[in-house]
Symmetry: C2
Subunit: 224 residues, 2 copies
């Protein structure tokens, strides 16, 4: 299954959940694509990787398709997650309700700052980073979320990997290296803003360029 398709399945799943809550029983690729914000042909091709779960002339059964995607992504089981770094962002992540409702259970919170140990966040006690290996092992954690400062990110990832974690979601603004076989995704808040800034500047630049062109035309009109 193409990586691009995998990245869109959660999108479809969310759209289907919304439809199910509204009591919709069947949906066409056109409708589902619209509510997921993608092209209908792309949606159909994506879904075709799961199998032929649609009915021609009718569409897709919402509940059935939802179950198929859930199974494909692996959300039928629940995943234990450890969050490392309980600063502002770590707090927000620990309290984020969207994880639990999608099969991700925050199993442990870890921080290196001794003054934070024992603090209760989202119903869990913050534990020492020294115990990271033990925690990962005891709770059978496969997914780690890194919300530490940039300088700690590589070390934390190394230790997570050494402890047996094979999937890491990194929020720290740092490039970290992981060995083959470990999946690493990164979410970088300021990178996203920088990409927006680039386009924003180009919008303004385009306006200025147009003005320059208009000025040139004007000059030509005056001189000609």
């Amino acid at each position: 299954m193409p990586e691009a398709t995998v990245a869109r399945l959660p999108l479809y799943l969310r759209a289907l959940t919304t439809l199910a809550e509204r009591g919709v029983a069947t949906v066409s690729s056109e409708e589902l694509a619209a509510s997921a914000g993608v092209n209908s042909a792309k949606l159909r091709k994506d879904l075709s990787y799961l199998g032929s779960y649609g009915t021609r002339g009718v569409g897709y059964e919402v509940d059935f398709l939802r179950h198929q995607i859930t199974r494909e992504i692996g959300l039928t089981q629940d995943w234990a997650v450890v969050i490392v770094g309980i600063g502002n962002l770590g707090h927000a992540l620990a309290n984020y309700g969207g994880f639990a409702s999608r099969g991700f259970r925050i199993a442990a919170l870890v921080d290196a700052d001794p003054t934070r140990l024992g603090e209760e966040v989202a119903g869990l006690n913050v534990r020492s980073a020294d115990d990271l290996e033990q925690i990962v092992h005891d709770l059978g954690i496969a997914i780690g979320v890194v919300a530490t400062p940039a300088r700690a990110a590589q070390l934390v990832c190394d230790r997570l990997v050494a402890a047996g974690v094979t999937s890491i979601l990194n929020f720290a603004p740092a490039i970290v290296q992981v060995p083959e076989g470990v999946d690493l995704r990164k979410v970088d808040l300021s990178t996203e803003l920088q990409i927006l800034a680039y386009h924003e500047q180009r919008k303004n630049g385009a306006a200025l360029a147009l003005t320059a062109e208009q000025a040139a035309e004007l000059a030509e009109a005056v001189n000609g």
Copy 2:
């Protein structure tokens, strides 16, 4: 300039900043690529869109290249940003130091909850969502960050756009539509985890499949 290249420029910028702080004056594409975690050919092609700023046989001058990328992305000016939705995530974003240091100034915080109004977060008073249009206009805000619950996201985006915001970074787990000419990027925490879960499951599944294959081989060996 290709979109994929634009998305990598902030990465290079960060790597260059790190090098500059270490006092490195020049860097080869090979070294820079390594610290940004990309292929060196890709790095060179990306940089070639900016111009021919390297010296053959030597490499790139760190400070100069940094300045060029900064200019290209549009970080020579600073951008006023409004954060809408001051919940857990909004708090974390408001306090995130990485924005200010990269030319993004949090100019206003807005929330719809009347009990939160006037609360001071990161040195700013939380203002009423009713004043959104006024705030955007008065402070010359071009970039909006949406950290509201999912159900409010579309309305907030509509109002931001109507007020003149042309770039939006959406953290709400909802698909929102924006008119042509408005840039929308979304950061979805649980989607990222779901993608990891998919690969995690496949790793385990692959292990099981291997076992099944081994079992088949074993069976054949026994029967044959």
